[in-house]
Every structure is written in structure tokens, then in C-alpha cells.
């Protein structure tokens, strides 16, 4: 059967064949369906390790204990004991090497995240003592009057 209709078909078949030949060269060898099956698990296995290898940046409170004992103790005996040091000072990563010193954020914005009064009775926000930032000693840093680590009023 000689017909112009067949020609494009041969070209397509040729292309398919070419792609099949090149596929093993381009696609990494650890590409496969994995345990989750074709629909959800078709992936490059090595990528799982790539993600696991990412560096942990937040070290959490216990890490600070040894070097900043005083701050740690004072904080843990206060109403702010539930707050992570790194929430206010940023991720410690390799501190004290890198960064050598952590940020000291004295901004009012840091405190009013929790302490700006909002009339939302249905949320636990209403259980935190709230102030109106526009009226409560405006233009002054909170830490001038309150110890951010141990803010307990009256000691």
C-alpha cells in the first residue's frame, strides 16, 4: 500500500523510537514508581534524600540553656516560659559561630503580635493580657519597662 497517508505515520513512529532510545540517557536511573504506585509515586528516588539533607535552622530552647543559663532560668520561671527564644531572636543555626550574635529585636511589633488587644472572645487571644498599642506608652520600646524574658508584673 503506497500512499501519502502513511508517511506522517512513519515519521511519528520514528520519533517515538528515537525518544525511547534517548530516554535512558536523559532520565536518571533512580527514576521509578516507588511504593506509592504510578499515580502518586512516580519520582526520582534521590530527591527524598535531597530534602532530608536540608539543614535544620531552629534549634529550640534547650540548645540555649548551656551558654545563656541566666536568661534561660529567668525565662523559664516566667509567664513567657512557653515562648521559644528563637521566636524573638531568630534561628540559631550554627550560633555562636554563624551567626556570631543573634538579632535583638526591640521593636514594639514583636510584642503586639500577642498583646495588641483584639475583641475576639472565641479565640484564646482573649486570654492574653491585651493593650492598645496606640495608647500604652506609645513611641517607647516595651523592653524599657518590661523584661521581655520575665515580664511578670510585680516581680
Amino acid at each position: 500500500m503506497k500512499s501519502h497517508v502513511w508517511r506522517p505515520l512513519w515519521i511519528v513512529l520514528g520519533l517515538v523510537g528515537l525518544i525511547l532510545l534517548l530516554r535512558p540517557l536523559i532520565v536518571p536511573s533512580d527514576f521509578g514508581t516507588g511504593e506509592r504506585g504510578f499515580m502518586y509515586g512516580y519520582h526520582r528516588k534521590g530527591n527524598e534524600e535531597d530534602w532530608k539533607a536540608i539543614k535544620v535552622k531552629y534549634r529550640s530552647k534547650e540548645y540555649c540553656k548551656d551558654c545563656h543559663q541566666e536568661k534561660y532560668d529567668s525565662n523559664m520561671s516566667s509567664k513567657h516560659s512557653i515562648i521559644q527564644c528563637e521566636n524573638c531572636h531568630g534561628p540559631a543555626v550554627d550560633h555562636p559561630e554563624n551567626p556570631e550574635k543573634l538579632v535583638i529585636d526591640k521593636s514594639r511589633a514583636l510584642c503586639i503580635r500577642c498583646h495588641a488587644y483584639l475583641p475576639y472572645e472565641q479565640s484564646d487571644r482573649s486570654k492574653i493580657k491585651g493593650i492598645n498599642p496606640a495608647e500604652h506608652n506609645p513611641d517607647m520600646e516595651c523592653s524599657m519597662c518590661h523584661d521581655p524574658h520575665k515580664p511578670n508584673l510585680g516581680g
Binding site: 499515580m39 509515586g41 519520582h43 530527591n47 528563637e86 479565640s123 487571644r125
Partner: protein, 257 residues
Amino acid sequence: MKFSRRELLITAAKGALITALPMGAIKFLEPKEVMAEIKGPGKVRWAFLVDTYKCVGCGLCVKACKNENEVPYDTPVTRTWVERYIIKKDGEMLADSPMGARDGFTENKIRETAVDPKDIAKAFFVPKLCNQCDTPPCVQVCPVGATYQTTDGVVLIDRSWCIGCGYCIMACPYGVRFFHPVHKVTEKCNFCYHRITKGLNTACVDACPFGARMIGNLKDPNDPVTKIVLTERVGVLKSEYGTKPQVYYLGLDENVR
């Protein structure tokens, strides 16, 4: 051209052979594996629990998440975010999440307008993150196999393989996917995969002072999260989509979308 019945059948059989052959030759589809899937093997199935009563809208989880996962801090995109809902007594619902609540909620103004406290019927905060669905639609649509689900249930993105076509961003009913402004590929919450696989909590769980966020293993019956999911009244988001989301919420309101 006239085709006899016999010729037609033979041609059809040949055609089927031709299309089937290359498939088999490269082990593209493995039906057994496709079938064996469904429940999946392994001892771990990560799931998340959000207690919306406990959330105060401070946004420290968002701050921690962006730093931990290197999502540029001053862009509006984020892997997790907190939404504020105000439902007024006249039934009107207001919701916002400025910059994903990176700096928390510090005033009663919502979208530039102040709401009279007397008009508020209920107001609360809802943290959002990737649901790591059991049947993730975002994975189904990926044309290049760059996003996938691990055996322990977390959906990951292969940054070196993603072509940035954006199908998955459109497919996610929860809007958790976005373009990473630096890597120029799709990005989303992966339950801090580098942390949970080392036995740590996710950055947002650690950052939350109020215990509004918890991560756990659903295949461990003694896990606190599993216990709550099994014994308390928990809800999930948009279950009607059939995605089987694995972020459970305590105190979910019908207005939350």
C-alpha cells in the same frame, strides 16, 4: 478502500501490539504496583492537627516557617499562613491574611475597615498548610513526575525536575502551592521533611507557644495526634473534593474554606 471484517480485526490487533510493545519494553506502567498501592506500606503516615481554639494569631509559626525553609521573607508567598475570620451578627463574613500573617494580627481593622466589637458574632484564627492528601490531585496532574508522595505520606517536589508549568498550583484546592521566587519552581509545605525525618517537630510546631499545632504519625496508635483524631470531633477542609486531606482541625467553623 474496502475493509473486510477479517482485515479490520487483524489491523486492529497489529495496532494494539505496536502501541503496547514500547510500553512493555520500557517498563513504563507497572499495573501490579498501581494496584498494590491504595493503603500503602510502611510504619509512618505523617498527619497534622490544628487546634483553632488555641491559635491567637501571633504569626510566629509563619515567621519560623519562612526562615527555616528559606522562603524569601519579604514576599507574600509562604508555605503556611494564618487566616482571620470575623463573622458579624448580620451574617456577613470577613476574612484576611495580610502577608500570610507573617507579622501577626495587631489591630481590629480587617481590609482597612474597623469592625465594631459589638457587631462581632464570632472571630477566630485558622492556620493553614499543606494537607498532604492521601489522593493528592496536585501529584496526579504533574506531567513530568516532579512531584510525588513518599511512603510516609508527604508530598514532595523535585526542584531539579520541575519545569514550572503550574498545573499543580491550579490543581490544589487548598491553594498551598506557589512559585518559589528564587528557585523558579513550585514550592509548598512538606511538613519540614528535613526535620521530621530526624525526629524533630516541624518549625511551626516548635514555634507555636500555645500548642495550636501538632504533628504525629497516624500509624502509631499511641501517638497523641492519632488519639485525638480517633477520639475527638475533628474536621478537615474541603472533604467534598475527595482528596482525603491529612490536616485535622479541632473547632473548625462552617465558614472556613
